[in-house]
Amino acid sequence: MIHLTTPISEEEILRLHVGDAVQLSGIATTGRDAAHKYMVEKLIEAPRPLPPADQTLYDELQSFLQGGAIYHSGPILRSEEGRWSFVSSGPTTSIRDEIYQDKVIAAFGLRVVIGKGGMGPRTLEACKRYKAVFLHGIGGAGVYNAASVVEVLDVFKKEEFGLPEAFWKIRFDRFTGIVTMDAHGKSLHDDLAQEFDRNFAKIIKGG
């Protein structure tokens, strides 16, 4: 098991290869469909100057995502005396953010994208170019994953996006995943897809 703590350096990312099991600690944000669309359309590609509220969020995200991680997850949370905590939070299917992810990696200097199911060629290229990895979480293991979210530091866009889609700024302690796309241009998903196709052809002919 390899341990990483944000902010993560380029050298640390280059030491990782597909198949490596990793435990990640440090600050990250959740972000899924609505968050990625917003980041690209309202923060990254919007004409300057940005409206003040967007500029504030842009600066805030920049302050902790450089060298950091985004977690594709829509959590279940509990609020007790004004303090939020994660109850259940596994990764969601990442491919839905394929059209945005490369731009978000480039604009915010992300080192780790956490999700499930893998992503496509644009994200793989961005991982190689900007030195990042895709960390495959344990899908469905909501309570196990939530236990590694030891602190909720802040939340953005809660009212507008709803609880599952908001940006939850969190602190991880040893979040467990497997690197399935690395910064060397390798995707475990692509390799496996070829194997699945070969097996599929044999099974269909076997009829």
Binding site: G19, I76, K116, G117, Y144, A146, L163, T176, I203
Partner: protein, 300 residues
Amino acid sequence: MKSTAEWIGGKGFREAVFELVRLAACELPTDVEKALREAQAAEEPGSSAELTLSLFLENIAMAKERQAPVCQDTGLPIFFINQPEGVSRRLITRVCQDAVAWATTKQYLRHNAVDSVTGKNSGNNIGEGFPAVYFTEWDDPAVEMALILKGGGSENVSSQYSMPYAPLDAGRDIEGVRRVVIDAVRRAEGKGCPPGILGVCIGGDRGGGYAESKHQLLRRLEDVNPDPILAELEGRILADANRLGVGPLGLGGKTTLLGVKIGKLHRVPASYFVTISYMCWENRRRSIRIEPDGTWRITG
């Protein structure tokens, strides 16, 4: 003797349905846990597949202990209800909605009902067709409810084929069905959170096919289809799919499916649909029986 309105509308009935929702979200059926344990033992020690399955099992234990939802995507709650004659379906539906909203305030369900046009989340899991409720009238005086929580990831990879399906030379016969079902599993890869459980319907119209395929998901993994042709097909597809190599979460391995359950509906001569509802590894399904005197017990 209470009236049916007092029975269904009473506090005890609502509490029973709440209990069903809580159980479905937090405690997996025993057959699913057993199948995952057997799958873990069959994978290569030290492989991604083995690690993944061991973490699934750890998660199941943690969820039960903490009474927290096994997965954060608590999906669309789908109720299948057997009800005696003369009971108001509208009233039962309202009780299901109340229990779902109540469970949401207790964090047993995520805020999951989103208006499809405005994008607004209702915040209480109530909306048009949300939760989904299906009824069957039976001769028994009790109400039996089965609930499945159907997550979005697995629902997105569910699919329907109109036969014949030329790309696979799949005709309107059992061999054709086998081919397209394996195709659906191949296409789903890791996206439906394998090892999955398939509910399949042969025939029906498009809507009825999906409803029946979901109904098949209520069956226990070890049960045997009473139709010998379908029983054989279920076994064949399960064995074939597990040779694809997709494995837990699509990261490679021997366990791609935990079960295949197939039903059939009559069709019109011109149509032949094969419908596949893909269920994630958790297969969150529980059931409860509520007697006319208000007592209840968990039945699955």
